[in-house]
Symmetry: none
Subunit: 134 residues, 4 copies
């Protein structure tokens, strides 16, 4: 089971609408069930440095099967998994990455959003994820 | 001057229509005037290994300002620029990457397509490029 | 749909039995439906340099959805996709990598074997693939 | 002196049994006396992001000849070897990697386990190491 290109584009549209509403242009990445890039959009004016961040947020959420900000709890200062963020070619451990799961719990894709504050990124990622799971 | 997200999506749509018409699902990458990823789509059933190839074709066309198959002339067996394809983190020197140029000759973006034969990739990349320059 | 660890180990056992029968110790890699490593075995005496080759054969077969020796046809001297083998972090384009496909045609894993001659590797990879698809 | 494939598989079985008992699917990597991969298993449901972590834990334990959590003491905040974890292509410095040593003190292999909490990983790695040294 995976994300179709139709679903991926619907998710990008949902993310874009939320981005426009809050007035923050975003980079939006959608991965499929193999963890490979399915669709991507950089809205006009979105930060160039956020291309890599959006892609890595999606990768992080996919590989670890949890929201990116939840990964932070394992590797934040004083937490046991020191340096976890340097594995897998570089993970991003702040909000904006959300895994997509089947009813079985299996990860079938992921969303990564970057361009605004951490809470703005998270809100836009939620909009994309909702469009994919509804 | 650069590629707007609206234009990038129009280019992806044009590429997709050509892909559907020839019956070959493609990976389609659009770079903007800074050479960064603007939009991407992997059509359902497109080869996973072509994600990297589409991205590198677009990068090659952008960085060298010419079609990817034209770059081959410089590094093919017997040509002077031996190993050129190993620079810049890896170039792809067969057809499917096309730079987008302003009237001034300045490169303002690039298209990269991969998923079929070299000539199929080229035809789909041309459709995307035409949608961006018309 | 993907490869279970039970299936992966059955495939490794089948590959090992063939290797023992022909007297050539092998490296055997099994990828699952996400293209990630599921199981691996280096038989005693198998070449160290073949660890990387077995892993890359499996990756190549997974990403391109075809036997590794079939990929060679696209990038061999004089063929159109010059340098294809340098994409995706390095592909291996001689026999020994076989994709595993569902009835739908979807790639659900891959096998990579290295340690002997190309035809020995191919025979052992076939044994592993047969154990996974039967 | 090195780890035979028979020993490596016995170690993986021991690790698996412990993993099943605690209900946490794990990635288990065994390196031999040259530091190359000897055997690997990703149990069903084990995190994909832990493939890389298990491999790097084993590498870290092998290269430094000590448990991964002991390496942390050298590079933790305030300790002298700042950035040690970024050498050797990336080390992992939390528990789950254990070197295997001959009576002479020579490192003859290593175990790396990842998939659960740091203490769960450590317990499973100990089970694998015990199976290899007994």
């Amino acid at each position: 089971m995976s994300i179709s290109s139709k679903s991926a584009e619907r998710a990008i549209d949902a993310a874009r609408q939320t981005s426009v509403r809050i007035g923050v242009p975003m980079n939006i990445a959608i991965l499929d069930g193999s963890g490979h890039l399915k669709a991507f959009l950089r809205m006009d004016g979105a930060m160039l440095g956020s291309v890599d961040i959006a892609l890595k947020k999606a990768k992080t959420a996919f590989l670890l099967g949890m929201n990116t900000e939840a990964v932070f709890e394992f590797c934040k200062p004083g937490a046991p998994a020191f340096g976890l963020e340097h594995t897998n070619g570089g993970l991003v451990v702040f909000a904006g990455g959300i895994p997509l799961k089947a009813d079985t719990g299996e990860t079938i894709g992921a969303v990564g959003v970057s361009g605004g504050t951490v809470s703005e990124d998270f809100g836009v990622a939620q909009a994309a994820a909702a469009a994919l799971t509804n």
